[in-house]
Symmetry: C2
Subunit: 223 residues, 2 copies
DNA sequence: ATTTATTTTTAGATTTGTCTAAATTTTAAT
DNA sequence: ATTAAAATTTAGACAAATCTAAAAATAAAT
């Protein structure tokens, strides 16, 4: 089972989009992959016959078990390479993404596992995103409130303290749910509000109350 | 100037074939690249318009300066990755070639140079082939007679001790010349003869006399 | 020096991944 | 409930890299 870099990119993009909002649209995919909606439709058909996803026209996409496994493999490779580039080759954390986009398509499974061991099984990449293990399990990162996270750190929403309807309604409005990844952009001391950013969206402000009740898997290094 | 993996493979194959015998034929290329002669012709035309080589129909190919530079870049990447895989990730030297075939197409120049530094500027890969430096210069490896080399080591012919016409005639007959890369397969104690192998050719035997007078750039590690 | 064999090239087709433009379906708005 | 707008899909085309089968050029053999 070897897939082209292009196909792997589709699978990866669908996986990421699924975490942010479970209805993955053709347009969103075209956007994420910097291609045209028509091309996306074509590819989705091919990937369906390869059983990596289920797709019904006009209805949207959903990864199969196999598709998810593949996505996690690719993400694992991407993040391990990023870690390698920063920790061993002294790259800055901003410049590694592009290179890892190429490296993640190197196929050898043995290479990835050896690299993992060589790096001493890191739990998170330089951006703080968790690195799945050899079996595809994401390590549970310790939970903390957004209000406790430092500026420029990032995490994945893991739980909600105040689960009142009003709170949930507000979170839905801001497009935040379990699994949403967000980045802390600024913290305003005056009122405890925090500016956060969700991928592919404009930054938004959340109040101190929300920040204290939004629990995330905090990104951290392994040692 | 970014080229497809396929184009890079053509350039690399032509470069290698040029060292073994300077008339590079369409068939030899098709063979080396495990493709069909017709495909080779097509590609040679494309690479000509990209000024990586000069090609006249039925007449053969020759890399331009630019083509040679590209070839050396790719070879540098290939050999550095091989060294990395063996020295850092504990791979066996037989299993790294295939993986390096993929890694050599990763484009970032900075990555290669950082990798080189991380590995402490090795002078030869695990098979003993010299690693070009950042400017494309191949390091001069220390010279020794084939008779002094261990089994399974390899080297590049660098000089000839006995330059008598008879010797040169014999070498030409066996397809050995300056720049030819060979591998020591077996050493026969009885008469001092040695079985050597040149890429893409059947193994051949050379006498003790020849082995003592065939000087090669012996492949060695950096430190 | 012809004929035969080999090598190389051309012509036309195929696959993968993409595109534009037009048609269709779904969603939103009155 | 229509109509208008937005999203999605189809149809047809294209570039890259390859292939097969046939034609042309070169090399080898009598």
């Amino acid at each position: 089972m070897k897939y082209s870099a292009s196909k792997e990119n589709y699978i990866k993009a669908i996986f990421h989009l699924q975490q942010e909002q479970d209805n993955v649209t053709t347009n969103a995919l075209a956007d994420a992959l910097r291609t045209k909606p028509a091309s996306v439709t074509d590819m989705l058909k091919k990937l369906t016959t390869e059983k990596l996803l289920q797709y019904e026209r006009y209805r949207g996409v959903k990864l199969t078990m196999e598709g998810k496994k593949l996505a996690v493999q690719i993400i694992r490779k991407h993040r391990l390479w990023e870690y390698f580039l920063v920790e061993k080759l002294q790259f800055g954390w901003e410049e590694v993404h592009e290179i890892a986009e190429e490296l993640e398509h190197i196929s050898s499974k043995k290479l990835v596992d050896r690299l993992d061991a060589f790096l001493d099984f890191p739990k998170a990449d330089p951006h703080g995103d968790p690195i799945p293990d050899s079996n595809g399990r994401m390590p549970a990162l310790k939970q903390s409130a957004v209000s406790d996270m430092p500026v420029n750190s990032s995490g994945t929403v893991n739980g909600i303290g105040d689960q009142s309807p009003a709170m949930l309604e507000l979170l839905r409005h801001k497009n935040i749910q379990l699994g949403t990844r967000l980045e802390i952009k600024r913290k305003f001391g005056v009122d405890g509000s925090i500016e956060i950013k969700i991928r592919n969206q404009q930054p938004v402000n959340i109040s101190e109350h929300v920040a204290k009740n939004l629990l995330v898997a905090h990104d951290n290094k392994s040692r």
